[in-house]
Symmetry: C2
Subunit: 470 residues, 2 copies
C-alpha cells in the first residue's frame, strides 16, 4: 500500500464520535481538548505520512480514567488512539477514522523499584530518560534506548529497541508483565512479577508490539540491570561496509558480549563530523561499547580490535571517560538531525529493515546501489549486531517525482529484506506505513493476527487502521 | 481443580472419532496404531495424573502429513494431542476427550544450521541432545536444558527452560520463529529469520507455551550460541537456604553473568551423595557454572566466592575439567531419580513455582515448614537465579491420605507463590494439573486466553482440556 493508497482509503469518521466527545467532556471537562493545534500535534508528525488528526484529545491521569474513557468510546464505537510522546515513525498516532487521541503523558509515575529483583513498575507516560534519572541512585538502569526520549508505554506498544539491543534485548525481552485496559473495559494484568512463567498464553508478548490495537497499557513491569562497573566506548573505521559487517559477525560469534555495535556508513560519518564538529575518519565505521568489569571490558576491546584488524579495519580508538563516551553516543543519536543538515530544507524519512546478519552486507550494498541509481540521498546507520539498519532518506517534499522515487525505493527495500529472510520492520513497527508489506512477509500469519484483533476488539475501537486494514 | 475434579470432569469421547480413525487408517495405514500399549504409552505417564489414552496414535513424517491429519480430524471434530517424547509433567499429552495422539518423533531432521547467524531450523521431533550432537563440529550449541532429553517441539510448546535460563533465557527467548499447522489446516510461518522484528503481533511468542492448543509446530527456527572458550563449574555450601539465596541475589545484581546457579537443599544433597556415590557436604548448596574467556570465568568465580563468603558460605570448589563438570551436572540432572531413591517404591511428583527472587527464601522456608507439618518428604531444588524451584514430592500412591495431603500441599504452594507475586508454573506449563490455579494467578487474563483459543480453534480440536476448560 503506497502513500497514494493510504490517502485514498481513508474512511469517513465514525458516526458515534460526537456523542463520545460530548460524554467525555461531561466526564473530564477541560481535559478534553478539541482545538486544532492540539489535535494536529497529537497525530502523525514525524514522517511524510499525512497528519490525520483526532476529533479530540483526552488527557488521562489514572488507570480508572482510562477504563472510563474506553467505556464511553466503546458504547459509541469511537476509535481510541493511545498517545505517549508522539515519537513513533509509521503513522501509529494518526486517527484515520477519527475518534480520540488518548494522551497518557500525565500518567508518569514510577510506582515501584524492586532493586533485589531487578525490576520496576511504571505508568505508561514515564519516558526512558526520566526512568533512568529516577534510578540514578540505585545503581540500576533500564537499557532500551531507541534514540528518542520515548514513553515506555509507547516503546512497549511498538516493540522498540535501539542501540543496546544486541546485549540487552528489545522491549519484547524486557517487559515482565503489563496491565492493560482491554476493548471491553476490563483491566488485565498479563503476568505476575516472576522472571519467567509457563502459565498459559504469553499475553505479555501479545500486547508488546500490538501498537495499541489490542489493549491500552496502563502499567509496565520492566526489567532493570546493574550499571556496569566499567564502560568502554570506541570507534573503529573500515575500508568497506562488508569488512565492518564481517567483524560484527565474528564479534557475536566469538561471544564477545558487546553492549552496542553500531554501523555508520561513510556518508553518515561525514554528516556526524559536520554536525558535531568532529574529525572522525569519513569511512564506514563501527561505534562500539563494552560493559563489564575493568579487566573484562579491556579484554573485550582487545579481542574486538584483533577481529577488526583481521578484516583490514581499525585502529579501534577507545575511551572510558564519561564525557568522551557521551560525545560519541550523542553524535550517534543526533544522526537524524545530522542527516537532515546534509540537505537544508529537506525532510527525513527513516526506514527500518532487519535481516539475518549473514545477509546484512549484501542488503546494505544493494540498497546503496539502489539509492545511487535513483538519485536519492540516504545515509545508512545500523544496529548491526542485530542485522537491523535504517536509511534516512532526505527528500524535497515539494518534488512529486522525488517522493515517487522514495516510495519505490522503500518498497524495494522492504522486498529486498523479506527476500533475504528478514523483516520490513526491525523496530519501528507497522503503523500505517508498513501495512502494505506485511502479507508479503508473513502470508496467512497476518490473517490470524486479524482473527485475534476481531476477537479481542469486536467493535474495532482500539487504534483502527494500524498494522492491517480489517 | 483437584485431582478428584480432574477425574470427575472427564467428558465423553467425541462422536466423530471413529470416522476420523478410519479415515486416518485409509491415509496412513500401519502408521495409525490402536493397540492399547502404544496408546497408553502416548498418554500421561510421568506424574500421578491418571493416564487418559487416545483412541489412536498416528506417526507423522512430514509437515504435509500433519496438515492432512489436521484436515481429517477437523472434519470430524476429533481431538489432536501433539506428542514429542512424552516428558511433560502436567498431563499435556493426555486425551481426556479421546481423539488421536499425533506422534512427531519421526520428524527429526535438522534442516539448516546458519552458523554466521547463530541459528538453526529443526523439525519438532529433534531432541535437544540430538541437536547438540549434530552441532558438535560447528563450535555452536543450543543452551536450553530442561533436564529430560525433550523434543524441541515439546519444549517450545511448554515454554521450557531449565538450568541455563539465568544466562540464556527460556524457549520464549530462543525461538526465532515457528512454522505451525493451524486448526483450519493452514500452515503459517510466524516470523522470518531476522533476529528481531516489529512486524505485527508476536505470533511466535503466542505459540510458544500454547501447549499444542493453538497450532501444531512443524518447524522451529532456534537461536544458537558459540560454545564458550572456558567453562568453570563449582559447588558452594551454605549454612542456610537464605544465605544461598542472598548470594544469588547479589550475584545477579552485581552483573556476574553466571550461566547456571542451582540450589539443592540439604535433603537433595544427601540424596545426590547417596545416589551418585559423592561426598559433598550435606548442606544447602549452590551448583554454579561460569562461561567466558579463561580470565573472565576465573574473575567471575572469584567474585562469586567473595559474595558467598560475605553470606557465611563457601568455600566454592571449582573445576574446569570436563569429566568433573559432567559428574557435577549429572548429579544435578539425576536429582529426580536420586530423590525417588530416598524412598524406595514411591512415586515422585515434581512441582514447579517461580517467584520474584527477593521472595524466594521466604517461599522456600514456608514450603519446607509446610512439608514438615504435613509429614511429606520433598527435597527442593531450584533454578534460583530465576526464582524458580521444584519440590519433588515422594509419595506412596496406595495411601489415599498421603495423596490428599500432597494435593493440599500443592495447592498451598501454588497459592503461596501467587501471593508472593509469582506464578504457579515457572517452566512445566499448565496442562491439566495446574488449570485450577490459573484464574487465581491471572484473573480475567485467562478469559482473554479463552477468547483467543475459541477464535483460532473454533471446533476445539487442538489438545482440548489443557490450560483451561473452555
Amino acid at each position: 500500500m503506497a502513500l497514494r493508497d493510504i490517502l485514498a482509503e481513508t474512511p469517513a469518521r465514525r458516526p458515534g464520535i460526537p456523542a463520545a466527545v460530548a460524554g467525555l467532556k461531561d466526564a473530564f471537562g477541560e481535559r478534553v481538548v478539541t482545538g486544532e493545534d492540539v489535535r494536529r500535534a497529537h497525530a502523525h508528525t514525524t514522517t511524510y505520512i499525512p497528519n490525520q488528526a483526532p476529533d479530540a484529545v483526552v488527557f488521562a491521569e489514572s488507570e480508572a480514567e482510562v477504563q472510563r474513557i474506553v467505556g464511553i468510546c466503546g458504547e459509541t464505537g469511537t476509535p481510541i488512539v493511545p498517545f505517549g510522546v508522539g515519537s513513533s515513525l509509521e503513522g501509529h498516532i494518526n486517527a484515520p477514522q477519527g475518534g480520540i487521541s488518548l494522551d497518557l503523558s500525565r500518567m508518569d509515575r514510577v510506582l515501584a523499584v524492586n532493586a533485589e529483583d531487578l525490576d520496576c513498575v511504571v505508568e505508561p507516560g514515564v519516558t526512558r530518560e526520566s526512568l533512568n534519572a529516577h534510578l540514578r541512585d540505585t545503581g540500576l538502569f533500564f537499557p532500551i534506548d531507541p534514540g528518542a526520549n520515548a514513553s515506555l508505554g509507547g516503546m512497549a506498544a511498538t516493540r522498540a529497541s535501539g542501540t543496546n539491543a544486541v546485549r540487552y534485548g528489545t522491549m519484547r525481552d524486557n517487559v515482565v508483565s503489563l496491565t492493560a485496559v482491554m476493548a471491553d473495559g476490563r483491566i488485565i494484568r498479563t503476568a505476575r512479577r516472576a522472571k519467567k512463567t509457563s502459565a498459559g498464553y504469553d499475553m505479555t508478548r501479545l500486547l508488546v508490539g500490538s501498537e495499541g490495537t489490542l489493549g491500552i497499557i496502563t502499567k509496565l513491569n520492566l526489567r532493570l540491570y546493574g550499571i556496569p562497573e566499567a564502560v568502554l566506548s570506541g570507534v573503529c573505521p573500515f575500508a568497506r561496509v562488508r569488512d565492518a559487517v564481517n567483524t560484527v559477525i565474528q564479534t557475536v560469534q566469538t561471544g564477545i558480549p558487546v553492549a552496542r555495535i553500531e554501523l555508520l556508513d561513510a556518508q553518515s560519518m561525514q554528516a556526524a563530523n559536520a554536525y558535531a564538529g568532529l574529525d572522525m575518519k569519513p569511512q564506514p565505521s563501527l561505534f562500539v561499547e563494552f560493559h563489564g568489569s575493568p579487566s573484562s571490558v579491556a579484554e573485550q576491546a582487545e579481542m574486538f580490535g584483533m577481529l577488526a584488524a583481521e578484516n583490514a579495519g581499525g585502529p579501534l580508538e577507545t575511551s572510558s571517560r564519561p564525557e568522551e563516551r557521551s560525545r560519541l553516543w550523542k553524535a550517534r543519536h543526533d544522526m537524524y538531525w545530522a542527516s537532515i543538515a546534509l540537505r537544508p530544507g529537506c525532510r527525513a524519512i527513516a526506514t527500518d529493515v532487519c535481516v539475518p546478519v549473514s545477509r546484512l552486507a549484501d542488503c546494505i550494498g544493494e540498497t546503496q546501489a539502489d539509492l545511487d541509481e535513483n538519485g536519492l540521498i540516504g545515509p545508512i546507520i545500523g544496529h548491526v549486531g542485530d542485522g537491523n539498519f535504517h536509511v534516512t532518506l532526505l527528500l524535497d517534499m515539494e518534488d512529486a517525482r522525488e517522493i515517487d522515487a522514495a516510495e519505490g525505493f522503500m518498497a524495494r527495500l522492504a522486498r529486498r529484506a523479506v527476500e533475504m529472510d528478514g523483516t520490513c520492520t526491525g523496530e519501528h513497527g507497522v503503523g500505517q506505513g508498513k501495512r502494505g508489506y506485511l502479507e508479503a512477509e508473513l502470508g496467512d500469519t497476518v490473517d490470524f493476527m486479524r482473527t485475534i484483533k476481531r476477537a479481542l476488539d469486536p467493535k474495532g475501537i482500539l487504534n483502527p487502521g494500524k498494522i492491517f486494514v480489517l
